[in-house]
Amino acid sequence: MSLKIVVCVKYVPDATGDRGFAEDLTVDREAADGLLSELDEYAVEQALRIAEEAEEAEVTVLTMGPEDATDALRKALSMGADKAVHVEDDDLHGTDVLGTSLVLSKAVEHVGYDLVVCGMASTDGGMGVLPALLAERLGVPQVTLLSELSVAGGKVTGRRDGDAATEHLEAALPAVVSVTDQSGEARYPSFKGIMAAKKKPLETLDLSDLDLDAGQVGQEGARTAVESATERPARTAGEIVTDEGEGAKALAAFLAERKFI
């Protein structure tokens, strides 16, 4: 029996580029180059490791995003995923996280799954809540923010390093998991992997394929509205001194002046 794994990956603006907002106050996806969210590489990596351990497994990478989001899927395929699904529809523009979880839950069900693997957070929105929402929608356990995980005997177990404690978690499959950047370095695609990725199946779905209406998603379906976005004023250049033996004294004087000591 084959283990069906779906990995949710997001195509995001490059964090080292110039990120900003479009006129309608949605994330400007033109301003900076896009790429596979670095935090989702960890999800792809863990999915591939689980698949390698399993007797038989199939790894599908799934994204919801604009046309260029196929770049993220190709990258994941070149790392070793078997096939890809791209949900793309003009009506998706401006979808909030609740809407995204609706679309992805439908797409995950469309593909079929035993295990859904997500990243810990997207590097643009960075809410870190989609995996929990997906579990709620699918009605399956959420085993999230894992630094370590394994799948065996129809169960997923893992370690969650929380704010106050480290927890060992366990749940029966099917389940939704998310993994942190502590879970293990992601592999680089090999040349062979990059070549093979070009021939792997990539399915494109729109809202009607998932039995969804435009009103449930996009800006129309969103339950939050951004009212203003202001660029944070650049911090005014501070004073910089070079230490020639007196640096600590000067710094202490600054801290005293600001009443920290």
Binding site: R19, D163, L169, A229, R235, E239, V241, A248, F260, I261
Partner: protein
């Protein structure tokens, strides 16, 4: 006046500071009603009352500790449906965000995470957020349902405003998903005796420049002289020099202290994401070109092994 639900973050009944900040912010929107889950409600109630809770809805059941997230969502959902509050506020921890998200979905409400400020608006609360590694500040509003909002630590200073804080039992019906994810074991983080990283007024962080686990003693000594928490860059954490729970940045903690001191940290965008909103920023780095200097109020170009210990001595001398 409308009621506002505030989810209480606590350790065995000892209420954590972000909850007091939430109670303070909640008063701008209505009468705070605290939801306390787990053991220790009687210990917590006087503190919650002092900071403005008109009522404390308390529930204790083994499910809260034995299973992940969902039992708490079940409880909060019950409270929200019974009260029809003007908003639900939850502290922005990893768990808090997951609880809030699932609650919003169940209530058919909009969700805002990581607010850094909250005001009453004409059509509901207006939340301020800091996005794209704090390069932008946005204001947002929930347009449907009961607003569910998570608020970051250090977003307000807790102000006492004594209220009744009557403890009432909250009956919870656990749904079929409550027992889905078992917490097989839990080891609480060891107390360091230093302030909590996200709550501290001063944070001293070390990076790759610290060059070894044993050298973090230099950072800790300055932190202790200032009464500060200790942070670390991802490079220092990945090298195994300091625990991951102290990482500051995009994939670590976001801090917003009065004073942030970065020693041996270059100031990569992912690190900035976690500290850029600090009120005063100071850096010690031997490379004058390090990007961290673009952010600082005061910078010292120099070797941290000279500057930091000497600063520690200065601080001790001045504090007497």
């Amino acid at each position: 006046m409308a009621e506002v639900l505030v989810y209480v973050d606590h350790v065995d009944g000892s209420v954590r500071k972000p909850t007091l900040e939430l109670l303070t912010l909640a008063r701008r929107l209505g009468d705070p009603v605290a939801v306390f889950l787990g053991a220790g409600a009687d210990t917590a109630a006087p503190t919650l009352a002092e900071y403005g809770a008109v009522r404390v809805l308390a529930a204790d059941a083994p499910e809260f500790a034995d299973y992940l997230v969902v039992p708490k969502v079940d409880a909060l959902q019950g409270a929200a449906e019974a009260l029809s509050p003007a908003a639900v506020l939850v502290p922005s921890s990893a768990e808090g965000k997951e609880i809030a998200a699932r609650l919003a979905l169940r209530l058919g409400s909009g969700l805002i995470t990581d607010a850094v400020d909250l005001e009453a608006g004409e059509s509901g609360p207006v939340a301020t957020q800091s996005v794209f590694a704090a390069a932008y500040t946005t204001t947002s509003r929930v347009t449907e349902g009961t607003p569910v909002i998570t608020v970051k630590p250090n977003s307000a200073s807790p102000e006492p405003a004594p209220a009744a804080g009557t403890v009432e039992q909250l009956t919870v019906e656990f749904g079929p998903l409550a027992t889905g994810t078992a917490v097989v074991s839990r080891s609480p983080r060891e107390a360091t005796g230093r302030p909590e990283l996200t709550e501290a007024a001063i944070v001293v962080s070390g990076g790759r420049g610290v060059n070894g686990a044993e050298n973090f003693a230099v950072i800790e000594a300055l932190a202790d002289a200032l009464g500060a928490a200790v942070g670390a860059s991802r490079a220092a954490v990945d090298a195994g020099w300091y625990p991951h729970s102290h990482q500051v940045g995009q994939t670590g903690k976001t801090v917003s202290p009065q004073l942030y001191i970065a020693a041996g940290i270059s100031g990569a965008i992912q690190h900035r994401a976690g500290m850029q909103t600090s009120k005063t920023i100071v850096a010690v780095n031997k490379d004058a070109e390090a990007p961290i200097f673009e952010l600082v109020d005061y910078g010292v170009v120099g070797d941290l092994f000279d500057v930091v210990p000497a600063l520690t001595e200065e601080v001790k001398a001045r504090k007497g």
